[in-house]
């Protein structure tokens, strides 16, 4: 009954679903972030509820959790949706009303009012966060640095941060987030500073607002106003309080790349770059290799950029190597450097003139498309003296073969003859499923058969139905064995241990049967009557 009631309680949530909206504090200062929680009680919302907030606040969904409690046999389930509420400017703003869709029916929680005041300026705050971007008017494709500076005059532990929401930008994947700790002295007070630089690449033109990044840290709790001392735990350590701090939102205008003046060979690079080309040697023999190192570096993204190819020339052949790209985020954005190694093999003696490397890029500083050029390179090609010297001490049978000359490049052909079939998983599905099922069925059948075989038969039933041989001697021996087995079952001992003395608890009838069997075995009495008596005794399960 108790289990039934418990199940009933678990399976029947309270009829009245309700919604609660709780905020950690309804009085904030500009830049402060607090936790806001929407509780859906005894119901489940369809999706994450969207809560409208005033334009002086920013709300960001952080996660959800749920709990269940049983009080007085009544189950209450609470789903908690947690948000981070950040004050952006001074004023009084509404949060909500929160409307939760419960699969068709809407439950509403009235709006709550949040008062935002300017942060107190008197005295130095114990910790503060400042945010800025390196350029508030970037072009599409340009990388800007989103900088966070967390300054504190108290010890802070377990520092973590929440990156800003960056509409119109994406975090540049080719460079990692930069973090650095330093200390500085300002107005005679030493401060610890954590600098975070996040490189962002502008992707969409227009005006966008970057929400402030939030720093969360465990800071010392403020002194007790009654004692003036800081609270301590049992080990004498100062108690800490989790504090959220954020900077100001930043408005950024992303400008589109101008269409006018865009060169046909525009590489797509946006940034301030330089290009230079340097040969590994100024003189080289015919057939030897000289490496032309082309370095492109500057502020901008170079990941994925490929150098314009040079087709093979009458005077030389060209082999490009995989480029090496290095990128690092800095206060001005993204500093990148790519090194291309281009192997050149001269084919004839004389002066080898390499054309300058030309790249059309958009320079945000000049706000125009520019063409970057490297210096032209001249290399003196000699007759291949080294090769002649090597051949000079051979007997004239030197290897005079040459590499097979590549005249062009094309796609690789398909096999000329092939037996084609369905090589997809679907094409082999029957075999894939059938193969393991065969031994599975066989193992199951064998197992079931074993179980059936091991099923124990009732020994009394088996004794009653046991056939008796026609030969009188064997018949009597079987009859005696049946009696002994039945008596042993009754007494709980082995059949061989059954004797007259042990049969006492089974009554006189059993003792008499035993005596008659003994007599018949030694030639006295009639075995025919004994058959019916023994069978009847066994049929009655040893009861006379």
């Amino acid at each position: 009954m108790q289990i039934f009631l418990l199940l009933l309680a678990l399976c029947s949530p309270a009829l009245a679903a309700r919604v609660q909206l709780q905020v950690e504090s309804d009085k904030l200062v500009v830049g402060q972030s607090v936790s806001l929680e929407l509780q859906v009680i005894d119901a489940r919302a369809d999706g994450v509820p969207d809560i409208p907030v005033g334009d002086g606040l920013a709300l960001r969904y952080r996660g959800q959790g749920q709990s269940m409690s049983i009080i007085n046999m009544k189950t209450t389930r609470v789903v908690r949706y947690t948000y981070q509420l950040t004050a952006l400017r001074e004023g009084s703003f509404k949060v909500g009303p929160a409307e939760v869709d419960l699969g068709g029916s809407i439950i509403r929680h009235p709006a709550i009012t949040i008062d935002v005041a300017q942060s107190a300026k008197e005295g130095l705050p114990l910790a503060e966060v400042a945010t800025k971007v390196s350029d508030t008017r970037p072009f599409v494709g340009e990388v800007v640095a989103y900088q966070v500076e967390f300054r504190r005059r108290e010890e802070a532990r377990n520092i973590r941060w929440t990156p800003p929401e960056t509409p119109g930008f994406v975090a540049e994947p080719s460079a990692e987030l930069e973090q650095a700790d330093r200390s500085q002295i300002e107005n005679g007070v030493e401060e610890a500073v954590l600098d975070i630089v996040l490189p962002l690449r502008a992707t969409a033109a227009g005006t966008h607002t970057l929400t402030p990044a939030v720093i969360i840290a465990d800071m010392p709790a403020p002194p007790d106003p009654r004692t003036g001392r800081r609270p301590q735990d049992v080990f004498g350590r100062y108690r800490t309080r989790t504090t959220s701090l954020s900077g100001d939102p930043i408005e950024v205008e992303v400008r589109p790349l101008p269409r006018a003046g865009r060169p046909a060979d525009f590489t797509g690079l946006v940034g301030t770059f330089k290009v230079r080309a340097t040969p590994s040697a100024r003189s080289v023999a015919v057939g030897d290799t000289v490496t032309l190192k082309v370095i492109v570096e500057g502020d901008g993204v170079l990941a994925g950029f490929k150098l314009p190819a040079i087709s093979d020339h009458d005077d030389f052949r060209v082999y490009d190597d995989a480029p090496v790209v290095e990128s690092a985020a800095g206060p001005t954005g993204l500093r990148s450097r790519t090194v291309f190694n281009r192997a050149l093999v001269p084919l004839r003696a004389g002066e080898m003139k390499l054309p300058p490397v030309e790249l059309s890029v958009f320079d945000p500083e000049a706000e125009a498309y520019v063409v970057l050029r490297s210096q032209p390179v001249r290399i003196e090609v000699t007759e291949g003296a080294a090769e002649q010297q090597v051949q000079s001490f051979t007997d004239g049978t030197a290897d005079s073969r040459r590499d097979v000359e590549a005249l062009g490049d094309d796609i690789l052909p398909a096999p000329g003859s092939a037996s084609v079939g369905d090589r997809s998983v679907r094409g082999s599905l029957w075999f894939l499923l059938g193969m393991p099922l065969l031994p599975l069925f066989a193992a199951t059948a064998v197992g079931l058969r074993g179980l059936y075989a091991r099923r124990k038969q009732d020994p009394w039933t088996e004794l009653v139905g046991r056939p008796l041989p026609a030969d009188p001697v064997k018949r009597l021996a079987t009859l005696e064995a049946m009696f002994r087995e039945a008596a042993a079952l009754k007494l709980g001992c082995p059949p061989a241990a059954v004797d007259r003395a042990r049969l006492g608890p089974l009554g006189e009838g059993a003792q008499q049967l035993y005596a008659d069997l003994e007599t018949a075995r030694y030639g006295g009495g009639a075995a025919a009557g004994l058959v019916d008596r023994v069978r009847a005794w066994i049929a009655n399960r040893g009861e006379t």
Partner: protein, 257 residues
């Protein structure tokens, strides 16, 4: 019975697919790439979803200057045979001529590292074989009169079999991507008139699909930007999906013979 029917049907279709493939190769050798593409698609329709067929089809479409469909065909071939270096080289060449400099979506999940060398069919066969051995092990123990009917080898084989099954499932079902087959297509933030233009993709660009709604795909770029593309501007890289006729991209010209 069903297995027997499937065997008979696949044997009959295999012969037809072989003939169509050989016809495609012959057409390609004499430079009739439109007819070659038609023959290779006939081979696909006849059940020949084979890397060689997709290889030949991609080559024929490439010769017809159809960069997007050729890329899709080679990608399908590579998904069926990840170790095929010739298809990989052709695909790399096609990707280098594409206008958009975006990385191709990873065809496999990182944790299933073996998928870079094992095709879904290979891993499915391996999973099936391991499961067969796992279920056969108790029978062997019984015949060898072993004292224990079930040993550690059964769970030891079933574990990798289950892992390979999951990897096959993700490779077949969960790794969908499309290739843009029109010269230029805009991606929009939402379906309907409220959507704004987010970015433009060009022919040959390969992007991952996260959702499909009626005649649109929600695609995601490597930098996590998302947008909706019309489905008829792209072609799936799933080898089991139907492959449209080459005439779809060649205007009113009848290309099939």
């Amino acid at each position: 019975m069903n297995v027997l029917l499937a065997l008979l049907l696949s044997a009959a279709l295999a012969g037809e697919a072989d003939d169509a493939y050989q016809a495609g190769v012959d057409h390609a050798r004499v430079g009739d790439h439109e007819a070659a593409a038609g023959a290779f698609i006939r081979a696909l329709d006849a059940g020949g979803r084979d890397p060689a067929v997709y290889h030949g089809l991609g080559n024929a479409l490439w010769r017809l200057d159809l960069l997007g469909p050729a890329t899709a065909a080679w990608r399908r071939g590579l998904r069926l045979s990840p170790r095929n270096g010739d298809i990989a080289a052709n695909l790399d060449r096609a990707r280098r001529t594409s206008e958009d400099r975006i990385e191709a979506p990873a065809p496999t999940a990182e944790i299933f590292f073996w998928q870079s060398v094992l095709s879904p069919r290979d891993s499915a066969w391996l999973a099936s074989l391991l499961a067969t051995l796992a279920f056969a092990a108790p029978l062997v123990r019984r015949w060898s009169k072993s004292e224990r009917r079930v040993g550690l080898e059964t769970p030891g084989l079933l574990g990798p079999a289950l892992l390979l099954t999951v990897s096959t499932w993700t490779a077949v079902v969960n790794q969908d991507s499309v290739v843009v087959v029109v010269p230029e297509v805009s991606s929009r933030s939402a379906l309907g008139p409220d959507g704004v233009e987010l970015f433009v993709l060009h022919e040959g660009a390969e992007v991952r699909v996260v959702e499909t709604h009626r005649d649109h795909h929600l695609v995601v770029l490597p930098d996590e930007r998302k947008g909706w593309l019309p489905a008829d501007a792209s072609l799936s890289t799933n080898p089991s999906a139907p492959f449209p006729r080459a005439s779809t991209w060649m205007g009113d010209v009848e290309t099939l013979h």
